[in-house]
Amino acid sequence: MLFWILAATMPIYAGALYMSYQATAQRLEHDAERDADELAARLAAGMDAVIRPIEGGIRTVASQLEEIDPPQEQYPARIRGILAAWPDVYGSTIAVEVANENAAARQPYAPYLFRRGGEVAYSDLATASYAYATLPWYRRAADSQLPVWSLPYFDKGGGEAWMVTYSVPFFRRLADERVLAGVATADLDLNWVRRAAADVPLGSGGMGWLVSPPAADSFLTPIGPTPRRLQAFDASLDANAVRVIGEQMLAHGVTFRLLPKGVTAQPAYLAARSLQTLDWRVVLVLPQSELLAEARRLLRRQLWLGAAGLVLLIAAISFVAAAISRPVHALAEAVGTASEDHLGFTLPDSPRRDEVGVLTAALRRMRDSLKNHIELRAANLAEQARLEHELQIAASIQQAMLPKPGSRELPPEVRTAAALTPAKQVGGDLYDYFTVDDTHVLFAIADVSDKGIPAALFMARLAGLLGVVATSGKSPDRILHEINARLVEDNDACMFITIGCGLLDIRNGHIRYASAGHDAPLLRTAEGSVASLAVENGAAIGIDSSAEYTAMEIVLAPGDTLVLFTDGVTEAWMADGAQFGTERLVTVLSEAKDGSSDALLRHVVDTVASSARAADDLTVLALSWTPRGVTWNRSEKAMRWLIEPQISNVGVAQTQQWLRSILAARAVAADLINDAELIAEELLTNVVRSLDARGCDSRMSLDCELTPTQIVMTVRDDGPPFDPLALAAPDLDADISDRSVGGLGVTLVRQLADSCRYSHVDGHNVMEIRLHRTTV
């Protein structure tokens, strides 16, 4: 946090400091420049102050000459007065005008008094060699009729020295006219000027010169301590070049500027001023470093102050930020130790009334309510786990109610296979099968109207009732009736059950079947065709106590399989959104290669599991009747059953029964079944009788082949070759006392069969009987 506060505030502070620094620097620079400018002005004023009284004195003399017009003889006295009054004046003259026709004098006269060796010397300038009226100091004042300073000149023949002269014209009043009477002058020795300049105080820094206007003989003299400072600053500085630049500046009205590079070794400013008296200038070179030294010092101090302020600011911010962040950090650490298992982190007892205090209180409330919530959830989870466990137990109990492979002792003639997949842990589906008596097996499939625990409990009642009611050996319609009567009582939950219940006679494959609102079972024949049983459905169990049920009878041939299922199969959802449906189930069953109950069950369950998603409990029960001694196989043209009975009358009776079942299961007409059975009995009885007589280990079999048009029965035995057809037919019309009791069976066979043929093949007697097939 501290970092971010500083990161945000520092640039602002630094920016403000920088702008302030810039403003101050500019201001200081400006001030320094102004000071330099003023210094130049002050120097100029200092020089003016020396010269102005001299000007004033000469002008006063000139005006006295004009007013008083003293005689020429008094001129030297007056000049002497000038020299006495202004010791700085080197020499002075009053030169009379002679060119003017109105002039008083006709002879040139210019008494000149000047200082020499501490005394005042006299000389008259009016000589032939020194034609003063033509010299600039005279001519300019005379022509302009105004006081004027001369340029520096070497006064040859006069003072014999470099000097400048202040010339003031004076006039004489003639009538209304002022006419030039002469020029009064005061000479200033340039050595004096040099000394005067050297005496001018220059201030703490800079180098200055007093310079004459640009002319052939320009004069230039350093001011004050300039020579000494020049040595320190730049000994090679060309003062004349500086003078030229100063002239240019003044010509443009500029008094202060930075010197161009190359003029001085270090950057420097140049200030220039004109004197108000002499037409001279003061030029002042100021090294930038000196000029700005003070400004720099000030700025440096400001920087130091700024830096100190910054340090103080950081310290203050740190202090304030720490006051906020420390408790927040402490809170964060405390909360950071929290986990689902450990919510007992301690929060500081915060008496603070600020945001941190509010936050702490809020965290405490959150911690406590979270703790409560987690405890509650843990309790819920434990409860859920307990329920889950109980459900698992319930599921295993329910599974235990169902017969497992081998758990029910069934006669070998019955094969069952079943699967139940509950949609939830426990389900409302049920299947069961068990032996009722020596000759009957009961099987049932049921579906309670709901899923889950209520359905499971109701189903448990049903399972118990089924066991009790069915063992009485009653027909399925009666069983359903009784179960219904008992379940309707106290059925406050208004649950109901659809159930299909069948009783199989293991001797002959006959099934009595009754249904209470359940899906009709499918019958897959040994031939592979599949059809739905035409079941007459009664009301679902548990609704109407007066409900009645009707049993139907079907006959299984060995190899036929009855498939019972709950709607969990047909109502399973396919990937394309359609239901699995009965038609698809029929297709699946008829496409199965192996028609055994086990294989069919596996095929159906696998197909549903792989192609559909069960929405409900899913139950399949497959049942087939497989009497020992009967095998079957299927060819393209025909279906054949091979019956290999024991060699006895019992075996013959069984064979008859099975044959009858096979034919009945294939809807062969009743009288034809009767004929076939009779033929089988006659032939097999004969075989048994003949084999019995031999008393050895023999075999016989009846092969029943069904084609669409014929019933072909073939009886084989490995007894001694014997052709019953070869026997003479008994005389049926003989007197009763002469009649033979035997031979009637063969007669019956001959008469009933459409054809009969005996052969002896591979040591076997083979009798083949053909019957024309008619159906019901």
Binding site: V652, D671, N674, E681, I736, S737, R739, L744, L748
Partner: protein, 122 residues
């Protein structure tokens, strides 16, 4: 359904057969016939209205009864056989055509006629 043989005490010469009469059950009838034929009744009636199946083993019982009774002037009659049974009886001519009756009443009328003829002859 196996064979059921009922001989009413009031009318011992009539055996009502129900169920199947085949090689398995024929011995039962043989045993009954052993007892009945010893008494050599003047007539023996088999009521076959409830007989569902008949094979040659059963027919032999009828032939044996005839052999036992007819030489002594006795008479064996069959009453009301079902079509499938009648078909078998006819094929092997187990009894003469006149020995099979539609029902007991027809048989009684026939017997009355016989008695009347005997009386007339006497």
């Amino acid at each position: 359904m196996p064979l059921e043989i009922v001989a009413e005490p009031s009318n011992p010469s009539t055996l009502v057969l129900a169920g199947r009469l085949d090689s398995t059950t024929a011995p039962e009838l043989e045993a009954v016939l052993d007892r009945v034929l010893k008494k050599a009744p003047p007539r023996l009636v088999f009521d076959l209205s409830k007989l569902e199946y008949l094979s040659s083993a059963g027919i032999r019982c009828f032939v044996r009864a005839r052999k036992a009774l007819e030489p002594g002037g006795g008479k064996v009659a069959i009453v009301n056989p079902q079509p499938s049974v009648r078909k078998v009886l006819d094929i092997v001519k187990a009894v003469p055509a006149g020995g099979i009756f539609k029902d007991i009443a027809e048989l009684d009328a026939y017997l009355d006629e016989i008695q009347r003829q005997v009386r007339d002859r006497d």
